[in-house]
């Protein structure tokens, strides 16, 4: 049961950071399907996956330099760890996915004003994208500001809710 002033978040690990998004923007979490690279797309777009017949853009925050306040984290083996899951988000008319690992549901109790807590010292995620820090038994989780994050990724601003199917390029099938 959720307490007063609390909110549910979806937490996930990206690089060496524990991050979270408000549950309200997360449509679902799925195992990473085959993703095809799209030449000419942003370097932080890992590619597109087919998800329910829709081309779902998959973003790899490890490749998005402004997201990190210092050198981008790498996994123990020295290589950037690929996300095993897709955190599928609805953002206005657009649908997109972030790569992440260790996805979990997290309760944010008594959230403070945005930016009040700020990221912890040593947190690798840039202040710009953090709206709060949530304590958890095994450490802290940075709550991402979806407005700033998605705008920086080039995702159109969220407008009135609606289906995203019409948000793509001209539909080859004339849908």
């Amino acid at each position: 049961m959720i307490g007063p002033g609390a909110a549910w978040l979806i937490s996930f690990r990206v690089g060496g950071a524990e991050a979270a998004l408000p549950l309200g923007v997360v449509r679902e979490v799925v195992a990473r399907p085959p993703v095809v690279r799209v030449p000419g797309s942003h370097s932080f777009v890992s590619g597109v996956a087919l998800h329910g017949g829709v081309a779902l853009p998959v973003y790899d925050l490890l490749q998005f330099s402004p997201f990190w306040s210092g050198p981008r984290p790498v996994a123990e083996g020295g290589m950037a760890a690929p996300g095993e899951h897709l955190i599928v988000c609805d953002w206005g008319e657009a649908r997109l996915a972030l790569l992440g690992d260790r996805v979990d549901l997290l309760e944010q109790a008594g959230a403070g004003p945005a930016g009040e807590a700020g990221p912890e010292r040593g947190c690798a995620v840039s202040h710009e994208f953090v709206s709060d820090v949530v304590r958890r038994d095994d450490g802290s989780v940075v709550l991402l500001d979806p407005d700033r994050l998605f705008a920086s990724l080039g995702v159109p601003a969220a407008g009135p809710p609606g289906a995203m199917e019409g948000a793509g390029e001209d539909d080859p099938a004339g849908r």
């Binding site: 095809v36 799209v38 030449p39 000419g40 597109v48 087919l50 081309a55 853009p57 793509g168 099938a173």
Partner: protein
């Protein structure tokens, strides 16, 4: 629509079969010469579309060249191999969200499921 499946490096693409005027074997074509960004085929200078470079790969010696004809002009696309021709309903091709590209323009018409993995469909009118 009828699609020709091709491979370029590690990537797999499709192109509308009716846009392919010829499949050229450079070993057999004495009147085909490659320059930096164009090809000279039977005296005609034709833009070269390098999908290896677009994917960040080094261009090798492609064994086949597709001569494509779009709405406005022609182009030559080096490929590593042709796999099959398949009929794919237009309704199976999902358009790509335009916001994943830093620049406007359209090199791909969309993506469709081709067995295990998605495959990108080139847009000959967008790249030509």
């Amino acid at each position: 629509m009828k699609l020709l499946m091709v491979s370029v490096g590690k990537a797999r693409y499709a192109v509308q079969a009716d846009a392919v005027r010829q499949i050229l074997d450079p070993a057999q074509e004495t009147d085909l010469h490659l320059e930096e960004s164009q090809a000279v085929f039977r005296g005609e200078r034709i833009p070269l579309i390098d999908l290896h470079a677009a994917a960040g790969e080094r261009r090798g010696l492609s064994p086949l060249y597709l001569l494509l004809e779009g709405a406005r002009r022609r182009a030559i696309v080096p490929v590593d191999g042709t796999e099959a021709i398949r009929e794919v309903p237009a309704t199976d091709i999902a358009p790509l969200p335009p916001f994943i590209f830093p620049r406007p323009g359209r090199a791909f018409r969309g993506v469709f499921s081709d067995g295990h993995a998605p495959r990108l469909l080139l847009d000959q009118d967008g790249i030509l």
